[in-house]
């Protein structure tokens, strides 16, 4: 047991902070700047680094590795838009070109905000070649983040219109932060962004228990998911995989994200058609 770590834990406790519940493990020596600790360090023999990790046999992650630490999962759903141009009145816009839309959703390490939160998965869907192409980027190591951001950036064309659910306040600023931290410019800024949360609220506020995507999906679109991993468990699923644990829950996160992104496409069409109908009827009234 290391004196240094034990000592730091102890000092923390003595100062009144809650103690950490982790086991203490041996570590390397040194930290010349801690004067009083140095004297202890001189008496200690260095030991090998041995961070506790769980080891699992189930490490299978779908998709292909397109860069070190970055995997791409691609699928197609037989789901095409009824026509190329989608009525945009549900979001107070002109008509939207179906081919320009990019539905996206991220899975992140938490809700705390600030520069310490990152996306470990970006799911993006677009109508391509008569089907809904869903592409998911997943990092299996921290080192894959830059490649993930770069790949996502390359999917965006100059005329791409982003579609999300609460992406204006959450996903887009978060990705902007990650781009900045990786010194990669800001490809999401100055781009049209349809955030479906707002038209959803306008239509459905107060009708059901809340306006979360899962609720709207179930109630308005009649989609039932089986064995869905709740979004709140996604961070732990990824972390546990990162530390050598099972990939089971991470695969469930992929499935969850895949479904989320497909739902965005369905929801957009649903809202568009309903609004179009209502506004056309209203216009016909004498």
């Amino acid at each position: 047991m290391s004196l240094t770590l034990a000592r730091l834990q102890q000092l923390k406790r003595q100062a009144g902070a809650a103690p950490s519940s982790q086991d203490l493990t041996p570590t390397r020596a040194a930290t010349p700047a801690i004067d009083d600790l140095r004297r202890h360090l001189r008496r200690r023999a260095p030991s090998t680094d041995a961070v506790v990790r769980t080891v699992s046999n189930d490490r299978h992650v779908p998709g292909t590795e397109i860069a070190p630490g970055l995997r791409l999962v691609e699928a197609r759903l037989p789901f095409a838009p009824p026509q190329d141009w989608i009525d945009g009145r549900f979001d107070r816009r002109d008509a939207l070109d179906a081919r320009q839309l990019m539905f996206f959703d991220t899975e992140t390490t938490g809700l705390a905000g600030g520069s310490g939160t990152r996306a470990f998965m970006i799911g993006a869907a677009d109508w391509f070649d008569g089907a809904l192409r869903v592409r998911q980027l997943l990092i299996t190591a921290m080192a894959g983040e830059a490649a993930m951001l770069d790949a996502f950036r390359q999917w965006l064309r100059p005329d791409t219109v982003l579609v999300s659910y609460n992406g204006k306040c959450y996903d887009a600023p978060l990705l902007a932060t990650r781009f900045r931290l990786n010194r990669m410019g800001t490809p999401l800024v100055d781009r049209p962004h349809v955030d479906l949360l707002y038209p959803t609220r306008r239509r459905y506020r107060g009708r059901w228990e809340n306006c979360r995507l899962a609720t709207i999906e179930r109630r308005a679109l009649n989609v039932v998911r089986e064995d869905d991993l709740p979004g709140s468990e996604a961070p732990a699923a990824w972390l546990s995989y990162l530390r050598g644990g099972s990939a089971l829950n991470l695969r469930r996160v992929l499935a969850h994200n895949d479904r989320d992104v497909a739902t965005l496409a369905e929801l957009l069409l649903h809202l568009s058609q309903l609004s179009a109908m209502e506004m056309d009827e209203a216009a016909e009234l004498p």
Binding site: A17, T27, L37, G114, M142
Partner: protein
């Protein structure tokens, strides 16, 4: 020429009378006070005035800025302002440590405005309070308008509305904030400030002398994080710091910023002579050594100065005392409600609008007397005053001169009076006028590498940016800390990079004013309320917040009904009992390691690491006025353990045997010596209240001493049973002074370095005390019984101290 003296009652009878013209200078009044109250004045000190030293506006100041200054009536610079301008132009980091009201702010406003108006360079200003920040913003806006400079200045703090924040981040040229906001609100969101950090040219930090001790250690780490983030965005801003007069401005600035700093300490601003008087209230009860209250004296002095036409500022130590003194003075000077108020009070609890109004009236000269807390110690502009009265010693030489610095006009002499209270520190200072005259202002000290503080900030830094392989944090190798954080599950190590992975916002859990989040809040539950009325640090909590304790806030008593230890809350209700409580605490010390030692007279002095256990075993209830002990109460709280650094003194058995008739005498002597050493040590290192603690014990923790009900030192065994002093062979009483924070805060080492001087001062303190047998000003309170004992506690303590003093 001189007006006939008018008594207060005249004012209401006669029509509006012209007020007496100011005395030719404060010198006349100082003379009068000396003559009339000679017995109360222990020292007189004159600080000679200074002539103006100024230069023409330098050529390289941009025309727009020159014009802005000209519009404010400034067309020359004081020497220190010009020195600062040139130093900053040379690319140096600067600390300006000239006296109050010497035009320090122009020193940093000049380079900042020049760069912002001509090159769109950005600046970050940090002030310790919002009031100061607002003043500064107002100043900047005026200058900007006067010179049409196009510089956009904004405050960014907790009060900034959400929708304004993005605009400030993108468009602010000068952002004015405070260390807490920088720590919690700006650095953790630095990507949103990318443009600001990329173009950041100057960081201005005002009142840096207030960033010392634990607070200063935290701020130094926030500055490390700031510099780290600037490096990420490719900028390396220059630091311009302002400090009040402290003993080590350059060293302190360098400790805070970890850069080489140029110090500018000579002011070119003109000032008149300053006459300073040290005033000790007269003794009213010689047997008990009781003196008249400081309040009564401050009241008297202020009446005299105001009547003499001197604009007067009285500093009081508490908000309650501000109200009391204001009332007394208003009774005298504002008895006619039809006339505008001549006396005003000022303190933190008042609304900002009220305070702004009072400041304006002060600047305009329409108030004759103002009573304030330390709120007016910091740089808010209140115009020129002629007299400053300090009701009680502010705790440090530096703060004393800071407050006196409020008085002084360009040519006229001013008066400063320090009135001592009965507090031991006050009495020491007032009775040692040469100490006051010769004492250089204390050194401000920080301990940026204090382990617990460092851990907190490395955690915050990891949240902000990942740590790369071999990256240092300031000068510290963060490896061990990152490993600890990995154990805690907040960072993840991958190929020598340490990345943040937890779902938490660490800055919210770190308070810049405490060591780890251990502070207790005191919640008033009287009449169903739930208001927080005080905050108590972790180490003081067991001594003052046990259930049944009487806790005083501004002299109002409350009783602790419930203590939620884990929740860090104490619930109190207002009480009207006729007693106060005093905790019975035992301290057990054990030396873990000795770092260093030196001879101390016939004994030795050491410095090293100790293990301290403090236990509160119960409390006494003591009736007011009679000081009878009317009962006891139990306390069941966890022991507090501490691994920290300490300095300690010992005498060898041979010396003890020759000096003392019994072990009991030796022990009592050590208790008294410890008390005196504690007093002088706190003074010497500018320690805040609880930072430095004392204890008397034995190096192996085998026994520890406390004062029993009869005021005599007692031995207790490891299990706290009382021991007879004659048992056991070894008897090595030891006085310890230790840092009251786990891991230490860097107080013990300088104390050990200066130990001979400390013992010397302690000897003087005890020798020259006016009391008979001992008192709270020298060796601690003594009971009547001991005054007539063979050798009084005072004498015993003196023997110990003399034995420890250099030959």
């Amino acid at each position: 020429m001189s007006q006939p003296a008018r008594s207060p009652s005249d004012l209401s009878v006669f029509p509006e009378v012209a007020r007496p013209r100011p005395a030719a200078d404060g010198r006349a009044l100082a003379q009068r006070l000396e003559n009339k109250y000679l017995s109360r004045i222990t020292g007189v000190h004159t600080v000679p005035g200074r002539p103006e030293r100024s230069v023409a506006m330098p050529d390289d100041v941009p025309p727009g800025v020159v014009q802005a200054l000209a519009a404010r009536g400034i067309d020359r610079l004081y020497s220190h302002q010009a020195d600062c301008w040139h130093a900053v132009r040379r690319g140096e980091d600067v600390v300006i440590a000239t006296a109050t009201a010497s035009g320090k702010s122009l020193c940093y406003l000049l380079p900042v405005l020049a760069a912002a108006s001509t090159q769109r360079a950005k600046a970050l200003f940090l002030f310790p309070t919002k009031a100061l920040a607002q003043d500064q913003v107002a100043e900047l806006l005026e200058l900007n308008a006067a010179g049409n400079l196009g510089v956009r200045t904004f405050t960014f703090d907790g009060d900034t509305p959400g929708d304004a924040r993005q605009a400030i981040r993108l468009h602010g040229d000068i952002v004015v904030s405070n260390p807490d906001m920088l720590h919690q609100g700006i650095l953790p969101h630095h990507t949103k400030w990318a443009q600001f950090f990329e173009n950041l040219r100057y960081v201005v930090i005002d009142e840096v002398h207030s960033y010392r001790g634990v607070f200063g250690s935290h701020v130094a780490n926030v500055i490390r994080r700031l510099q780290r983030i600037c490096a990420f965005y490719g900028s390396k801003p220059q630091f311009i710091l302002c400090s009040a007069t402290i003993g080590n401005p350059k060293a302190h600035a360098e400790a805070l910023t970890e850069r080489d700093v140029t110090a500018i300490t000579e002011s070119g601003a003109p000032s008149g002579d300053k006459h300073v008087l040290l005033w000790n209230p007269p003794v009213v009860n010689p047997d008990l050594g009781l003196r008249a209250s400081a309040r009564s004296q401050s009241n008297l002095i202020a009446r005299l100065t105001i009547r003499a036409g001197l604009k007067t500022l009285v500093f009081a130590q508490s908000r309650l005392m501000v109200e009391v003194l204001t009332k007394y003075l208003k009774d005298v000077f504002d008895s006619d409600p039809r006339k505008p108020a001549r006396i005003r009070s000022y303190r933190g609890g008042y609304l900002p609008t009220e305070r702004r109004e009072t400041e304006r009236a002060m600047r305009a000269g329409s108030i004759d007397g103002i009573v304030s807390t330390s709120a007016l110690e910091l740089g808010v502009d209140i115009g020129a005053l002629d007299a400053v009265v300090l009701n009680g010693y502010p705790g440090s030489i530096a703060a004393t001169w800071q407050r006196f610095g409020r008085a002084g006009r360009r040519k006229q002499a001013s008066v400063g009076v320090l009135v001592a209270s009965s507090d031991p520190l006050d009495q020491y200072v007032i009775r040692h006028p040469e100490f006051f005259a010769n004492a250089s202002p204390e050194h401000a000290r920080i301990h940026a590498d204090q382990p617990v503080i460092l851990l907190d900030h490395i955690r915050c830094a990891a949240f902000e940016l990942p740590f790369q392989a071999r990256e240092l944090f300031g000068p510290v190798d963060p490896q061990v800390y990152l490993q600890l954080l990995a154990e805690d599950g907040v960072v993840h190590n991958e190929q020598d990079r340490w990345e943040w992975i937890a779902d938490s916002y660490p800055a919210n859990a770190v308070s810049l004013r405490s060591v780890a989040d251990g502070n207790f809040v005191v919640v008033d539950r009287t009449d169903g309320r739930q208001t927080i009325i005080a905050e108590v640090d972790f180490s003081s909590a067991p001594l003052t917040l046990y259930e049944g304790a009487i806790y005083m806030v501004q002299a109002t008593p409350y009783q602790v009904e419930k203590l939620d230890w884990d929740g860090r809350k104490a619930f109190v209700t207002r009480t009207h009992v006729d007693y106060y409580t005093d905790a019975i605490d035992y301290t057990k010390l054990k030396v873990l390691e000795r770092f260093d030692g030196s001879p101390a007279g016939r004994g030795t002095c050491h410095h090293g690491e100790v293990h301290v256990v403090r236990r509160v075993a119960g409390y006494k209830k003591i009736r007011y006025y009679t000081h009878e002990n009317i009962g006891y109460g139990p306390v069941t709280l966890p022991d507090q353990e501490l691994h920290t650094t300490s300095v300690w003194w010992q005498l060898p058995p041979a010396v003890l045997e020759s000096e003392f008739a019994s072990r009991q005498e030796a022990l009592d002597g050590f208790l008294g010596a410890g008390y005196a050493l504690h007093v002088v040590a706190k003074l010497a290192v500018m320690a805040e209240g609880v930072d430095l603690q004392k204890a008397v014990g034995d190096g192996n923790g085998a026994w520890f001493a406390s004062a029993d009900g009869r005021g005599r030192g007692q031995l207790r065994g490891a299990g706290e049973e009382a021991l007879s002093l004659e048992d056991g062979e070894r008897f090595m009483p030891t006085v310890y002074l230790y840092d009251n924070y786990p891991g230490g805060v860097g107080l013990s080492e300088p104390l050990h370095f200066r130990q001979r001087e400390l013992v010397q001062r302690a000897v003087e303190l005890v020798e020259r005390c006016d009391c008979k047998a001992g008192c709270p000003a020298c060796v601690g309170p003594v009971l009547a019984i001991d005054e007539d004992a063979g050798v009084a506690p005072r004498g015993l303590a003196l023997r110990v101290l003399k034995a420890l003093a250099p030959a």
